[in-house]
């Protein structure tokens, strides 16, 4: 048995702690509590009930979230006040870990993201179900090599996995130099158009290689497809009347 004392913002608990992936036994002077490992799937379901979007900002009701962690038997206000800090500590995971190596991640496609937004957004009320959106993100972009279903991972390991896939699918906005520098914008779009590359690939390419590519593009005559001649010769006259007849 590993006995420890946990202090969360002044709330003190005695713990029988064996890691966040094992059941937890906690007690205070008068009460005791047993918690099962808090799983990624439970976290996403709880987010759906405890988050809301106001004025474009995502807000979390920490008390309601803690009540979800504590479970249906401890929904009373005094129980949440007593055990809430412990519940939030338990849900957050002890130490940040690297994402498990038994899963591979990939960025989601535009179609997958649009499907997730459609599933998460209520068009009538405008309510956005964050948990459902993130659940579809995990389902689309986390591929299991081995190990359990990602949603069955304890948050100590599922949390870093979720953070990693979020970073992969929602990269930082364009860096200021790219947005501000017209020459860099033109160069990026020119290479993207000529070679079909993504902007990220252009920026990660060695500068010398890009210079060589630009030199090749400069020396290559641009061949544009010949425009198809218009069937009508009258249509271009300013005084022509045109009647379109629908079937």
């Amino acid at each position: 048995m590993t006995t420890a004392i946990l202090d969360v913002n002044g709330a003190r608990y005695g713990l029988d702690y064996h890691g966040h992936d094992q059941p937890l036994h906690a007690w205070t002077d008068e009460h005791e509590l047993r918690l099962s490992p808090w799983l990624l799937g439970q976290h996403l379901a709880a987010l759906g009930q405890t988050t809301r979007v106001d004025d474009g900002a995502l807000g979390l009701d920490a008390g309601a979230y803690a009540a979800q962690v504590l479970g249906p038997a401890l929904q009373q206000v005094d129980a949440v006040a007593r055990w809430g800090p412990l519940a939030l500590w338990w849900a957050a995971g002890a130490e940040p870990e690297a994402p498990p190596a038994t899963y591979t991640l990939r960025p989601w496609t535009m179609l997958e993201r649009a499907s997730a937004v459609r599933a998460a957004l209520d068009p009538e009320t405008g309510a956005f179900q964050v948990g459902r959106y993130l659940g579809m993100l995990v389902a689309c972009c986390v591929q299991r090599v081995s190990g359990p279903d990602p949603l069955a991972l304890p948050m100590a390991r599922g949390g870093p996995l979720l953070a990693a896939v979020c970073r992969l699918c929602a990269p930082e906005p364009l860096l200021p130099p790219v947005v501000a520098d017209p020459a860099l914008r033109r160069l990026t779009l020119r290479i993207c158009a000529a070679l079909g590359w993504s902007p990220a690939r252009v920026w990660q390419t060695p500068a010398g290689e890009l210079d060589q590519l630009l030199a090749l593009l400069d020396d290559t005559p641009v061949t544009r497809p010949r425009p198809r001649p218009r069937l009508s010769t009258l249509a271009d006259h300013r005084d022509t009347h045109t009647i379109e007849i629908d079937d």
Partner: protein, 131 residues
């Protein structure tokens, strides 16, 4: 800018027969004009207006035997375009454009974006009447 009428529930009649597959009708009125000069002046003193003809084009999907025959025979014909447009539940006739004493002067082929053959028939008319 061209003047464009978009009409549904419309038809084009060639000598009273409906022209199947009619897509577009272009036309313009051409009037010959001559400036009248005067000796001793670099300005014109009047304008003389001459022949007034109508140039037209009919685009048909995919071709018209009737117009092909008229082209082969250099025969005279009349074109009437009845433009009707639905206004709510009521079909309201809004415009009739008639071309008198027409002759087909040529034709060209094209494939549109949907890979459908189209034929353009050029014609001239003595006059156009809009009612």
């Amino acid at each position: 800018m061209p003047k464009i009428y978009a009409a549904n529930r419309s038809n084009v009649l060639v000598d009273g027969e409906a022209l199947e597959g009619a897509q577009t009708l272009h036309y313009r009125v051409v009037v010959e004009r001559q400036d009248i000069r005067a000796i001793g002046s670099d300005e014109r003193i009047d304008v003389a207006f001459g022949l007034r003809t109508v140039e037209g084009e009919l685009i048909v999907r995919s071709s018209s035997d009737k117009l092909d025959t008229l082209l082969a025979q250099s025969a005279r014909f009349q074109v009437v375009a009845n433009l009707k447009k639905d206004v709510g539940m009521v079909t309201e006739s809004t415009r009739t454009v008639s071309f008198d004493d027409c002759f087909v002067t040529g034709k060209r082929f094209d494939m549109d974006a949907g890979d459908t053959a189209r034929t353009l028939y050029s014609f001239t008319a003595t006059r156009v009447r809009e009612e």
